[in-house]
């Protein structure tokens, strides 16, 4: 029998607020242990949470970016459980009335529906010292605002899950909601997965794989779990509903707890935080601050004449796409600028492991370089070298070209003199050319360039050389 996978995702994304969600502590990543804590986020007796509207604004942006309905009324609840990384022994979340509902994301093949987005607080971090036999708690992360994005069970493969997660991460980055650094845990994914015979309408028993922190591990965990569950079904055994941990090193899922030990979170309305009322005007105002989203950007790039593949390459990195847009504003030749970015800049950035966000060159300098290469101010080859210097040392392309003697000369007399010299020095080659060997022209061109240096305009060199040879 062949089986179909049914997958739903829960994506946790840390919001890019300056402060924690229920207090004024810094929400920056890391920091010396327990230095970013206060009575509120450490749950001291007598302290009360205060909700910062900044988190609501970012959650609304996420909702807009993911095509959700933004609810005028939402409210907070307590999720109760004991764990040493949770000092209040409850997490403040939105259970009954989430801030956003009913969204969707288009991936290549289909539409994945989003059930809800809600705001909640992150827990702390436990540090286990096996040598000393100690477990220590760091509460810096306690109270960092998160949104949880919950999909409908619309995903049918590892590939779709990866595509969806990537699309969500990109949309959140574009909206300025989350930096989506999976390796740092600012975006993490829980996978709910079950299998059923192909064509069946009834979902199988699902398992939940917790805290996957890369697209690769999402894909691998799903593949593994699919095989594990189908094998169980094939053998006529039951899939047990349980929470699993993905061991990336071993490539297997392992049970964290089974249903018998499943938590009863005893949700109830958080009495310390009044419900959140958001007016249509507020939603509209936030909508007006939304930047162009990846989908819109791609449509625009295609209209500008870029190929879909090139458009995707640029869009994938928001900082790069922003750089591109700025450069095109300075030099309106979208295809040329795109090509210089994709062929030259990306390769250099790769070599230097330089993220686009940290690029030191200005879009206008880059645009100028493209223009200089296009109009023959410098040769294509020189342009590459200029870019390298711009990246490594800095400076404007014109300055670099001037200093390096790379500006192309339109003075044909020097070229003609050089041609005479080289043709005289290579009589054999001239003979071969006249006998019909086109190959030797390249050799002669090379000789010319070497003699003339970077300032030679290849077009002029070629023209002069041809004239001399054919005369």
């Amino acid at each position: 029998m062949s089986y179909e996978t049914v997958i739903g995702l829960e994506i946790h994304a840390e919001l890019l607020t300056l402060t924690k969600v229920f207090c004024g502590c810094s929400a920056d990543f890391g920091g010396e242990e327990n230095t970013r804590v206060c009575p509120r986020c450490s749950g001291m007796p007598g302290s009360l949470p205060l909700f910062g509207r900044g988190a609501a604004e970012l959650a609304i942006k996420a909702g807009l970016a993911l095509n959700c309905k933004i609810n005028n009324f939402s409210a907070f609840d307590r999720k109760n459980y004991f764990y040493p990384d949770l000092p209040k022994a409850y997490q403040i979340t939105q259970f009954n009335y989430p801030i956003c509902t009913d969204g969707f994301v288009d991936i290549c093949t289909k539409k994945i529906r989003i059930n809800r987005i809600h705001i909640e607080e992150d827990a702390g971090k436990l540090i286990h010292d096996d040598e000393l036999g100690l477990s220590l708690a760091d509460y810096n992360r306690c109270g960092i605002p998160l949104i949880e994005i919950v999909t409908e069970p619309d995903i049918r493969s590892a590939e779709e899950a990866k595509q969806f997660t990537a699309a969500v991460a990109l949309a959140l980055k574009y909206a300025g909601v989350c930096d989506a650094k999976m390796e740092q845990g600012s975006l993490r994914c829980d996978v709910n997965i079950s299998v059923m015979p192909k064509g069946s309408k009834v979902f199988g028993t699902r398992t939940e794989i917790k805290n996957l922190n890369s697209l690769r591990s999402i894909g691998r965990a799903i593949e593994y779990e699919y095989s594990r569950q189908t094998e169980l079904c094939e053998r006529g055994e039951r899939v047990i509903q349980q929470t699993l941990h993905w061991n990336d090193a071993l490539g297997v899922t392992k049970a964290l707890r089974s249903k018998e030990e499943a938590h009863d979170y005893r949700y109830f309305p958080e009495p310390d935080i009044p419900p959140l009322f958001i007016t249509d005007e507020e939603i509209k105002a936030i909508k007006n601050t939304m930047p162009e989203m990846p989908k819109e950007k791609k449509e625009r790039y295609l209209k500008m004449g870029l190929t879909p593949a090139d458009a995707d390459l640029l869009i994938f990195d928001k900082a790069l796409a922003d750089f591109y847009d700025e450069a095109v504003k300075c030099y309106n030749n979208p295809k040329s600028v795109a090509s210089m970015i994709i062929v030259e800049l990306l390769r250099r950035m790769n070599d230097l492991s330089l993220p686009a966000a940290e690029l030191k060159i200005t879009p206008s300098d880059f645009a100028e370089l493209c223009k200089m290469a296009d109009d023959g101010t410098v040769s294509r080859g020189a342009a590459k070298d200029i870019l390298k210097q711009m990246l490594e040392v800095g400076g404007s392309p014109m300055e670099i070209a001037e200093k390096g003697g790379m500006l192309m000369s339109n003075d044909t007399s020097a070229v003609e003199a050089a041609a005479d010299e080289i043709l005289a020095a290579n009589p054999k080659a001239v003979e071969e050319y006249k006998a019909g060997s086109a190959k030797v022209f390249g050799f002669l061109m090379g000789q010319m360039c070497r003699s003339l240096g970077r300032s030679a305009n290849p077009a002029i060199v070629k023209k002069v050389l041809e004239e001399k040879l054919n005369s």
Binding site: G43, P49, F51, P84, K88, Y90, R266, D272
Partner: protein, 487 residues
Amino acid sequence: MSLKELIKTATLKELSNRLKNKDFSSVELTAAYLERAKELNQKTNAFITFNEAEALKEAKKADEQIAKGEAQTLTGTPIAVKDNISTKNLKTTCASKMLENNTPIFDATVVLKLKEQSAVILGKTNMDEFAMGSTSETSYFGAVRNPYDLSAVSGGSSGGSAAAVAAAQCPAALGSDTGGSVRQPAAFCGITGLKPTYSAVSRYGLIAFASSLDQIGTMAKTAEDCGILLNAIMGKDNLDATSAATPFSDSLSEINRGVKGLKIGLPKEFFGDAISEEVKVAVFKAAETYKNMGAEIVEVSLPDLKYAVAAYYLISSAEAASNLSRFDGIKYGHRSEIGETYEEVIKNSRSEGFGKEVKRRIMLGNYALSSGYYDAYYNKAVKIRQKLRFEMDEIFKSCDLILTPTTPTTAYKLGAGDKTLTKIYSADICTVTANIAGLPAISTPCGYDAAGLPIGMSLVSKAFAEPSLIAAANAFEKQFERRGAVL
């Protein structure tokens, strides 16, 4: 009259005036109270901690301000604070072994406000553990005793504050009221207790019992004193999202208004079989007094009162179960020496740190919230809460105030509570509705039973009508001859 004599009967208002008049200094007054309070504490056990050294320092500072003519109403007046209200650098135990050594690093907003006025924090008062109870017997530090009869309970949970005021161990005190915890002990100890409108006073720093019901209140010899203290602590606080600005800036603005032309409702359900004859008679007599003062007395009805106690215990226990979960011995609270694993440490710490009543409420609350029982208990309680709010609103469409007994009976003997637990719970029938509906209520003495124990009556008004509530209580107090506790 010597200061020692004077403080036996002096009101907060009188002390405030005399301090400004420089009849005596705050240091003298504070020392006198400390001496009396410490001595009488052997009998009442009203205080858990005295703030002796600090209090005298604060008093000295207050005297300097008075000398400079910078005194505010409470400058230099000694105030006692219930031991679930956080005081910076001063132990705040909630009368629990769990927090026996809890020294907060911040002041509750109400304490900060008292300090801003240079009031003197005399000490921390005894209470039922985590404010759960109505006898102040569940304290880890021993039961509070009623100044009117040392073999009787003080009521609770703010029993320490009530007994301290009644025994003149302090002129006024802060309490907290989740289901009657200010009013009921005020009634048992023959003093006045005010529970303000929910949100009128910041809860920041009040160690939570049931967050949606908890409200800090004031306890003193008179309604006017309760208002004076309320004025100092009320108002919107940016540290508590549930706090709100009061529409009035002075809760005493109508103090001399009387009750002429007011309509006072007597909800018939508050005068059923559960209420003792002596209490009923005293409250009816008070109604008569109001009538004579020009109020109109009408019978009204709160049909669903019979569900109020059940709803109250479900909601308050559910919230308490969650609020008290942070006391796991890992970060907060008593830590057991026994246990190898995380689960064992938590289990043992909580088993050792919490008393019986607190454990009972935690179990009740978790049960009410657990999946499978949620709809039958917690959710139903929430619905009743909405219904009772609606019924109260209806009454206040035609009435200015309602008048009820504060307690079904007068104070009972110590040790009687545990035998009749459901009876003790049911006795909250007269007070819980104000909490459930978030309304202000005040209890003031209106009689004495055959044994000479005080009887309290309660007035309830619509939200933020404290000025007329206090005025009505004040008007009665002027007509009523109060008997002090003889200690």
